[in-house]
Symmetry: C2
Subunit: 174 residues, 2 copies
DNA sequence: CAGATTTACTTAATATTTCAAGTATATCTG
DNA sequence: CAGATATACTTGAAATATTAAGTAAATCTG
């Protein structure tokens, strides 16, 4: 990734408007961002999968339901809050439904819409496994960081997140 | 994710050793980290896929080869540098090979090992599409950040990265 | 208010990733 | 140096994710 990201390489380019290559600090952040996006979910999933039979994404979906009014959300809202496409969510909810952790309910106000609802069993499952998962998140993500680092990194990632999809920022603000 | 991450919820837990739930700043960083791991690759891939017919991972693999001596690396080294399992890499290299961008070569020193080698065509493809990709990375990731933010965020992510898999840290240090 | 468009999803097909073996070579141990 | 173990991959199958197409209900438009 160094070549074709930083400026040490390829003084000639295909088009003649040379882009601004990345400097050393940018390259470092970039590589770590790429590294984390590929490795972090897997690292956390080992524990979750083993202990709770959930992927990180599934856990996140259940957690988003657990904090909603009446433990229910419209599929499209839930897709938003779990950073996913409706299609991906639909498949995952089907699986969570088959485990008895979630059920679907037609929406009364809008005939097109469906609510995903966390069942009592799903809530219990989440409660049971949340502590170990939070411990794991803490162990991998937070134990090495000072409060100040947590705050500033959160700010910076927020600025990036905002640009990934401007409509989504509100998600982590509340 | 609020419930079962922060401390506003479930004063009683299954086991009685209550974990330390996340505080507001921790929760914010955590949600943004999760959000970025799920959305950032896709956001960058739109451009790459359309213009260069490459996923972010494939681009990364080619870039890692391009900066290696002789444009070649052992499969296991390449797996390390691209944060992937050998199996995943093997499948992807097969595809890159079928496009003529990479070829495999037996390693002379070790009969078990294989070198993945960037072909001239692969190097040309990378050179052709690198500028637009870097522009896109810059647009989404860096344009909103000050040099100071880039530096400090890089540091913090490094500390997390180190804990995801201690053996891997060296990767973004050089 | 009829036809066209948009919204909210689901589903089938495809692509990608992971998992579990399998193969072959290298190294280590008694 | 023979047998055991470890390393470096590859491959096929299973799980997961994305894409494209389809259905049905709501809304918008002339």
């Amino acid at each position: 990734m160094s070549a074709f990201l930083d400026e040490a390489v390829s003084p000639e380019s295909a088009m003649d408007d040379e882009p601004r290559w990345l400097d050393a600090d940018e390259r470092r952040l970039w590589l770590r961002l790429v590294g984390l996006t590929t490795l972090l979910p897997g690292a956390l999933e080992v524990q979750l999968k083993r202990d709770a039979g959930l992927s990180l994404f599934e856990y996140h979906v259940l957690a988003m339901l657990s904090e909603a009014d009446g433990h229910a959300r419209l599929m499209s809202d839930l897709a938003f809050w779990s950073n996913s496409s409706l299609s991906r969510l639909s498949h995952v909810v089907k699986r969570l439904e088959s485990q008895g952790w979630v059920r679907r309910e037609a929406c009364l106000e809008d005939g097109r819409a469906t609510n995903a609802v966390l069942t009592a069993k799903g809530a219990a499952h989440l409660e049971q496994h949340a502590p170990a998962h939070v411990d794991e998140v803490r162990r991998i993500v937070f134990d090495g960081l000072s409060p100040d680092e947590v705050r500033t990194a959160g700010e910076v990632l927020g600025k990036i997140f905002e640009r990934v999809d401007p409509a989504r920022l509100r998600q982590t603000e509340s």
